[in-house]
Symmetry: C2
Subunit: 370 residues, 2 copies
Amino acid sequence: YLSDYNFFVTAKEMDRNDADENSIDERYSRLTALENMGVVDDYSLIMKKTIFVIGVGGVGSVVVEMLTRCGVGKLIIVDFDIVELSNMNRMFYNMNHIGMYKTDACVDTLKLINPKINIEKYNINIVEDYSIFYNIFKTKKIDLLVSCVDNYSARSIISQVCNEFDLVWFESGISENAISGHIQFVIPGMTACYCCAPPLVNFESNFSEDKINSIVMNSENENNSKKLSSRTCAASLSTTTSVIAGILVNNILKYFLGFGENSNFLGYHMIDDYFPRYSIIPNKECIDKWCRLRQKEKEYNKNEKTKNKSPYKEEPSRSNVSNGELLENYSNFEVIESDIHMESSKNLLESLNNLSISELINKLDEVSSK
Amino acid sequence: YLSDYNFFVTAKEMDRNDADENSIDERYSRLTALENMGVVDDYSLIMKKTIFVIGVGGVGSVVVEMLTRCGVGKLIIVDFDIVELSNMNRMFYNMNHIGMYKTDACVDTLKLINPKINIEKYNINIVEDYSIFYNIFKTKKIDLLVSCVDNYSARSIISQVCNEFDLVWFESGISENAISGHIQFVIPGMTACYCCAPPLVNFESNFSEDKINSIVMNSENENNSKKLSSRTCAASLSTTTSVIAGILVNNILKYFLGFGENSNFLGYHMIDDYFPRYSIIPNKECIDKWCRLRQKEKEYNKNEKTKNKSPYKEEPSRSNVSNGELLENYSNFEVIESDIHMESSKNLLESLNNLSISELINKLDEVSSK
């Protein structure tokens, strides 16, 4: 039944500018220059990766454009929203897109940038159409997930499914007043997942029909409360979303191409051009059983590595998700010193209850700067 | 003769989505929300400003798009370059723009975002067509200049003309390997101009025909040396340019709307997500006489302010550039502590000789982090 939602874009006709190898070389000349300059060893690795982007609004639409221009192999995009006039204050969409599904507008725009883009789209709400969302993980090869959603319910589901499929992902967010944002890089079992910080989730058991129903209900409440306060709609700035998207995709490039250091958590506060950066280790008592399992796996592998002094190896993945290659890149990320130790900071955990995301980020900033 | 280069875009036909006040409200609802959230007092101030953007390449094209989406009153854009296939790795341009002047492609794209955009374009090289460039300052009301050029000669000319017309401006730059960039906020006489740091300029006297000729010659040398090394073309990444553009336009918003703090110099290093930030005070022996004059004026005004405890007032401007309003915003920027004191650091100045911009930035980082 996936075919109902699925739409492959294959530019059959060769563009005159893309007719031969030379023009492909020219298209990517400013990217492969990174090799000549000694920044990366093999830029073409990015052209073999499949990235799954959830949400193509303010941040997500800029992320998919950047990934297209950077030459990513394949994109899978998900959204259910429609382009409105009030979206013209953000990057990416234009007046011709008003009334279109955001996913359709993305496909059209990305084809104008690269007619050969390999892109697959789903017009679904991942909370309400959970089984379709889950099935994408089961049936597709995915190298990385990028979350650009704007609500707790979607983030909670993404976190849980990434833990289950042991998939590395990036979370991103912008504050309601548009003047700050953050990215978070999540390696299941090695860094805090979205459920390790209790106030961010509102369910207690693991994946089940009941849980999904509860999330859907909470999602409705969230939407209703948004409607009630619609007189004071959230602010947004193309500038803040682009800074977050740019930093996010640069961290994706570092991760896949094996250079530089990945930030675990990086914030941006436009008021004073402040960029807090720190690591958050996972909570051993995380309510997500998949998170706890991944923690034990990674701990076991780390011990094995230390014992045998052999290269870091993971046991064969139980899912279709190809994470063998990803493990090579784990060497670029190591949680050596942690500014925030969830497990041992019971008081901190308690103080985090009932906070909004922006309040939580401020709280984390406070703790980090102590 | 300006009319030869000048092209006004006036969308005569009303767009159906923009037909009434309600749709204008809707277009800007996510921006005016900044007022409801207490971030700014009066967002509409930005709609009265004219911003002069020099260069619409990697950074500049994203800057003009952001300014359009943020609702800036009027844009004046300058470039002489043509869109190529190798530009597809950067944001903004698409395949339909290949072969067009970048300024024309900008006008077309920005009209798709806001059909009522007030924009004026000049297809000129500001070094070779200096007198046309200079005439724009003499004949137009400009509230701010943004430099998004990629060479010393253009930056030197911009710095000198902004000092002469006492115009506040932002400088921006990306390293040749695409992995770092910076913005610099220049208030003539209050912060270091581009000529205060000697290695960045290669002429010694003030504005004269000779100087312009010398810059044009140096520009040719620069182009020749670029051609010689064209086998290793500069790298570029849409991500890094967008981060710099986003931070830059956020600083423009802070400056015009009177909130937050403006960074004097802010860098971005993608390798380790590092963002150095500091102030550079002007060099009292700057080779640019207009810079020295502005320093004395600002010093005089500061003393007057201290003496009379009266609001900061500047003497009437000698040019057509309206900088009366700008002065109100000076209160948002104060060089209180300076990490780098050009005047007193003779050794530092000597050590900066013959450095490229990226080397200079690294050097400044070193000094700043000491």
